[in-house]
Amino acid sequence: MKILWIKQSASVLFAVLVIGIAGCVAVGGYDGAPGYYGGTSVGYGVDFYQPFGYDFGGWQQGYRVGPPLRGGFNRPGRAHSEQSGTPYHSAPQSRPMPSIPMHPRGGGSRGQRH
């Protein structure tokens, strides 16, 4: 009788263990950025750029968003600088306009200097 009770208890324990582990599996996995990828955010639509392919789409002529070449862009005399109370701190006027890194990779990997 006692042995039968031990066997039944062990079987129940085993079943509970398996169900518990399976439950853990169900919530595992990569969601990259749960919440964001899960759909709590709202993306912007491509209709922002309509009409597609004509001139500048939603962008007007002269609308530029890219980086300047190093030394190829003089800093304008800024009407609203630190003195005029922008919420950000402007780089000092003595600082030249920076550009993106221009040095070639030289055969190394993405993370290696050569």
Binding site: Y36, S41, R95, I100, H103
Partner: protein, 313 residues
């Protein structure tokens, strides 16, 4: 005598039962645990680890798409990317590689019909400390869209929205950040934020990433700012063109191409769209805005060849 024998037999039977049960448990756990202990192993941003830190630099992007297989075909043909599916209990994540090195992630997600959501690239910007970044984001009017989470090899990451709602992610890379060299063709070269209030957003991102802010006045009457650190331009912040309700603030990431015109033609041949036709930007090269077949926008930016005169810092 007979009772003793009977007891021994019963005890032996119980021992056998417990032994078999233990073996079954071990086998069952061994079969299930891999899915629990290692849901997915994201690779390091750089290999070997280099310990570089470039806060404010865009170091990664994840595409959330409704068509993973289609995205692989499109980006593979357009930029020469190859792909590696990441093993895990989910089968919908793939790593994009350029010349064998990871440049981004592709994740499949269904979108409900009629939902305003759409396929999109999520920009990851380097930070030295995700928790500290979160504190600053919240203190300056941003929101947490996805709480910080750690992936052993990748690092710690979180997704936020800036005060105007543009989503962006931060990543504290375990292995370090990519070094500052000119991006290879097919790699990310630039990121731009389009926002209704560049001043306020520049202040926000300056607080989070410690940028220097430079004015990039244009002749279009709109405000454009350049955000830099380590004496390198990192991103631009641009006033949204007047598009009314369609003007959602957003980040747009650019990939370096050798010819924007050729790449734009290829986008169309591969089933994508050109949203903004190739045109000259301030560096003297052509840029364009494209969308993949699922509708995820990205930029094309041609940039002159690297110069070896610049010294790597």
């Amino acid at each position: 005598m007979i009772g003793n024998v009977e007891m021994k037999l019963r005890t032996k039977g119980l021992r056998q039962y417990l032994t078999q049960l233990a073996a079954t448990i071990v086998i069952a756990v061994a079969a299930i645990v891999p899915g629990v202990a290692a849901p997915i192993e994201l690779p390091p941003i750089v290999q070997p680890a280099n310990g570089e830190r470039h806060p404010g630099k865009m170091i990664w992007a994840d595409l959330v798409t409704t068509d993973l297989a289609g995205a692989k075909r499109f980006y593979g043909a357009l930029f020469g990317w190859s792909f590696r599916d990441i093993p895990g209990e989910e089968r919908n994540f793939s790593l994009a590689l350029l010349n064998g090195e990871p440049v981004g992630g592709l994740i499949q997600r269904a979108i409900q019909p009629g939902s305003p959501r759409q396929a999109n690239w999520l920009t990851f910007i380097s930070v030295p400390d995700v928790s500290e970044a979160q504190r600053i984001v919240l203190a300056h009017g941003g929101k947490v869209l996805s709480a910080p989470r750690t992936y052993p090899q990748r690092g710690r990451q979180a997704v936020f929205a800036d005060p105007h709602g543009a989503p962006f992610a931060v990543l504290q890379s375990s292995s370090g950040d990519p070094i500052d060299v000119l991006a290879d063709p097919g790699d990310w070269i630039w990121s731009s934020l389009l926002t209704p209030d560049p001043d306020k957003d520049a202040a926000f991102y300056q607080a989070v990433f410690g940028y220097e802010v430079f004015d990039l006045s244009n002749d279009d009457g709109l405000e454009h700012l350049l955000l830099a650190n380590d004496d390198y331009a990192r991103v631009s912040v641009n006033e949204l063109p007047p598009r009314g309700a369609k003007g959602h603030p957003h980040w747009l990431n650019f990939i370096r191409v050798l010819s924007t015109t050729d790449a734009a033609a290829k986008v169309i041949a591969l089933g994508g769209q050109i949203l903004v036709a190739p045109h000259l930007d301030r560096h003297g090269g052509l840029i364009a805005v494209a969308a993949d077949p699922a509708g995820a926008p990205f930029g094309l930016l041609e940039w002159p060849a690297a110069t070896s005169k610049e010294v790597v810092k």
